[in-house]
Point group: C2
Chain length 232, copies 2
DNA sequence: CCTACCGATCGGTAGG
DNA sequence: CCTACCGATCGGTAGG
């Protein structure tokens, strides 16, 4: 359907790895990044933290339903029954990753500064994109596995999303009201700006010749252009 | 993690549906649209077509692994064993949806006209966005369930994606070379423009006060702005 | 398109 | 944190 870009540097059609630069690069099926990382303070000590990290890796790669509790336990070096000494159910493991993902993202949004519309939008978009580029596995799990949670367990994340969405919409509306932004429709500008940032989690990987900061800066520039602030 | 916007008009926190406009709208967990539709010519006659349609609905809502062959059969009004008279395996049902999604999207891209860079980019982005707004369930399945296919069965879709990606990149590069576009980095402009369009499938729904055409037009305008073509 | 059934695996529990 | 085990469900097949 799409083009979810990526330079496809971790998979090739050729089974011969020495095929060299002429090998056809094939994009990832879901996510390019493979570095398991959780925000500071979000990772519990000991086995509980190990379970979260392995779940992050497996859920990002195979999905929640595609990962059995035995897969997860084996990755942690324990028996499946031992998981239940740390989490009440498999769903609670996902719920914790979803919670951490949404809360850390939202905290960055709330921490975004900026007083005038331009610096404000730049700060908000930078925060949004940085969260996705620095924690791509977490973002993919939080975004794409949310449907595996029951409505009750998904509800907190959905409330956080609604708040973040409103924050971006308010930022755009304020700029329009101030006559600084020129946007045909601020709802669609919100979907466009948030959407482009979310997809960063699917293609970004540390093997690319960009730092997360560079991506955040460039995407903030794109967002300002969408908002009708001409380029320099 | 994100804000995948949507006006949340099909779910509310309140169990009382008569709560009225003060009810807090809660966004969908994965996709807002629920209208099952396949591109013209992509739906086989009879039971095989019915299986594809029900699979589209169930895979979009619950995912491939979250849908059992008994769920699918029941939705079609047949027994699970009968599925195997129409498809070799469950995976082949998904593969067919992924194929249809990618091929119909790609056909629209290839059909996009435009000679000068501005009209060319507009046509390509319109095609991209229209495919996602008119067939949101198909787009979500093709994009988000691709990881459930084996590498062999996912390969054709990945090749199509690579081609579409290159088409957009070439469009941007041509505009830059012609001095019409002004972009700090065409790779990132490609990821941004394709990403914003892909996310349309997650939030768009016919209940919103926009037609797919209006969304495509507005997103094409946003893409031109990202490309450094100032707004009118 | 069905009934009947296969072995494998699922999430989770008992009891220590 | 383990062994042992539960009933339920999984994708798929045999045979008609």
């Amino acid at each position: 359907m799409p083009w979810a870009p990526a330079r496809g540097h971790n998979e090739t059609m050729a089974s011969d790895r020495s095929a060299g630069p002429t090998a056809i690069p094939v994009e990832q099926r879901r996510i390019v990044a493979d570095e398991v990382r959780l925000p500071p303070g979000a990772m519990p000590e000991g086995t509980q933290g190990r379970i979260l990290c392995e779940a992050l890796r497996l859920f990002a790669e195979r999905g929640f339903y595609g990962t059995s509790i035995r897969d997860l336990a084996q990755a942690c070096g324990i028996r499946s029954a031992t998981l239940y000494a740390h989490f009440p159910t498999k769903e609670h493991v996902l719920a914790e990753l979803v919670r951490v993902g949404h809360e850390s993202h939202h905290a960055r949004l709330l921490g975004a500064g900026g007083t005038d519309p331009v610096s404000r939008l730049r700060a908000v978009v930078r925060a949004h994109v940085l969260a996705h580029a620095e924690y791509p596995l977490l973002a993919v799990v939080a975004n794409n596995e949310l449907h595996a949670l029951s409505p009750e367990m998904a509800a907190p994340a959905l409330l956080i999303r609604a708040d973040g969405r409103q924050l971006l919409l308010d930022t755009l509306d304020a700029g329009v009201d101030a006559g600084v932004f020129h946007v045909p429709d601020t709802f669609m500008a919100t979907t466009a700006i948030s959407g482009m940032g979310m997809r960063v989690a699917n293609w970004y990987d540390r093997g690319l010749p960009y730092t997360p900061e560079e991506i955040a800066d460039t995407y903030a520039e794109f967002a300002l252009r969408v908002a009708g602030v001409g380029h320099a």
